[in-house]
């Protein structure tokens, strides 16, 4: 389409499709952004304005009181710290464990390793409800209910399937010759994994970091089951809790939602460059 100018006069007809597609996409984009825009707009308006039906209009002046209210609330600080204490270790450990297993399945296959791999990968499809009650009983017996440990542990365990799948697929694209060269140079398998295979797999690590961080940060079910006191709540439960406290303060609710979404948005923006590439190599090519 860019070389339209060089096409001989006879063939140069106006092609309406790019324009039509652009307009269609632009309309869809506006529709898609509307819900998010509503939250943005609510966060900079007073409750009074919203109650009088002005939520969906552009405000004439910005009101920062909602953000001040949220950011000065000590409960919000606690929710944030708790969520970070769960998300950071569970993300890192699940990716690390997935790398270990994925390396074996890609580079050190053994009799039955394919079957074992399939069993682990099928764990991706297990509904959380299928393991919920026995885990509740287990953590109850270990006296870990209403601490953050069960949430960290279960996110790590439930993350192993997807991490193993993507890391195996990615490691499979690392040439065997590289590993063998490292081994001949006197490296052991651990060094071949950490010094050769992992540095070549940064796109896959970026994809997993994005996926795991987002899932764990945004999770609602596990903290709902395993925590009881407000001191141990994570941010998503905190939002639901505070909805009661700020029941008609929609602006405060909106700014709280925005603030709670900042970490996942940052992680996505940060890893975005690798994300599509990693997806292509890890998931789609299989």
């Amino acid at each position: 389409m860019a070389d339209l100018a060089f096409v001989p006069e006879a063939r140069r007809r106006f092609n309406p499709w790019p324009v039509v597609i652009f307009i269609v996409l632009a309309v869809l984009a506006v529709l898609f952004l509307a819900p998010t825009a509503g939250v943005l707009l609510s966060s900079i308006k007073t409750t009074r304005d919203i109650a009088f039906g002005a939520l969906w209009t552009i405000p004439s002046e910005l009101y920062w009181g909602n953000f001040a209210e949220v950011l000065s609330n000590p409960a919000v600080h606690r929710y944030f710290v708790n969520t970070l204490l769960v998300t950071a270790p569970a993300t890192v450990v699940s990716i690390a464990l997935g790398s270990l297993a994925g390396y074996v399945f890609a580079k050190l296959p053994f009799r039955g390793s394919n079957l074992l791999f399939l069993v682990i990968v099928s764990g991706m499809f297990f509904p959380p409800q299928a393991v919920l009650i026995p885990l509740f009983r287990l953590f109850n017996a270990m006296d870990l209910i209403d601490t953050l440990y069960p949430i960290i542990i279960i996110h790590t365990a439930m993350g192993i399937p997807i991490c193993t799948l993507l890391m195996r697929n990615f490691f499979a694209t690392v040439p065997m010759a590289l590993r063998e060269a490292a081994i001949l140079e006197g490296a052991n398998e651990w060094q071949a994994l950490t010094r050769v295979a992992l540095p070549l797999s940064l796109p896959a690590l970026a994809v997993l970091a994005t996926l795991q961080f987002t899932w764990i940060w945004n999770d609602f079910l596990w903290p709902l089951i395993f925590t009881q006191s407000d001191e141990k709540r994570t941010i998503m439960l905190g939002i639901v809790n505070l909805q009661g406290q700020y029941s008609v303060a929609w602006g405060v609710q909106g700014s709280l939602s925005l603030i709670a979404s900042v970490p996942t948005l940052l992680v996505f923006l940060f890893f975005q460059r690798y994300f599509i590439k990693g997806m292509t190599m890890g998931a789609v090519k299989g």
């Binding site: 039906g53 499809f125 509904p127 009650i133 026995p134 790590t156 365990a157 939002i239």
Partner: protein, 293 residues
Amino acid sequence: MERENRFWQVILLALPLAIFITFVIWPLANSFYYSFTNWNGFNPDYDYVGFDNFLKIHTDQLFLNAAINTALWIVAAIVVPTACGLSLALLIDSRIPGGSVFKSIFYLPICLSAVVVGQIWVWIYQPDWGLLNTVVEAVSGEQFNYAWLAKPDSALWSVIVAWSWQQTGLSMVIFLAGLTTIPEDLVEVCEIEGARALQRIRLVVIPLLAPATVVVIALNVINSLKGFDILYTMTGGGPFNSSDTLAMHMYNESFKKYLMGYGSAISVVLFLIALIIIRLYFRQLRKVDALHG
């Protein structure tokens, strides 16, 4: 060499396997076990009740209702985000200006949590000042106060729309990734051969997207089985259980009524549904692998 390999296989697999077995496989097996008991969640003692919990499923009207809603939910969660994601990916892939901006806009909702998405859409459906009714009023010029989430007829579908809005971006990104693997000259050949755009998409592009489609559908099914958070925050399964799903029903029976034995039986049914999907998924995957190498 052989012995050394064995050593590393054991060392590297030990920890991931131990954790996976202890916290996923073992609890899963135990869910089957508890589904034959009447454990109440607190009392350490319980009795074996045989197949009572599964017989109760037969007579539990709420279970039937939740099962139908779950089926609707899964089908909608497969069809809508997959179709919308594919259409958006094809449109964006047609090399229009601003493609990456559009991509980010459509992907954005995936970064938001179900709780946040639920809150956003509760506002859209809000009867008095919600966006939907405001637009309807502006177009029709009449007062319109329909409470979308409070009416049994519309509650489930309203949540499905919100869910699809969030999930479409993920499908789109994977389809876009799949489109980059289609050789450009193949598409050009079709163009020279005179295939029209829609023919090209139907006969060449979509078949070549099969690997991406398998991933998209699998992810949509997985996510739909986990679709508990958004229902919990938007409707809580109501009104009158009209948006109850099996995941929701299981939560209510286990953690509201403390019928953990019966809850386990429901979770076993949920797992069996997942098992059917796992089988279908691996069969499709093998077919696609055979075709695409």
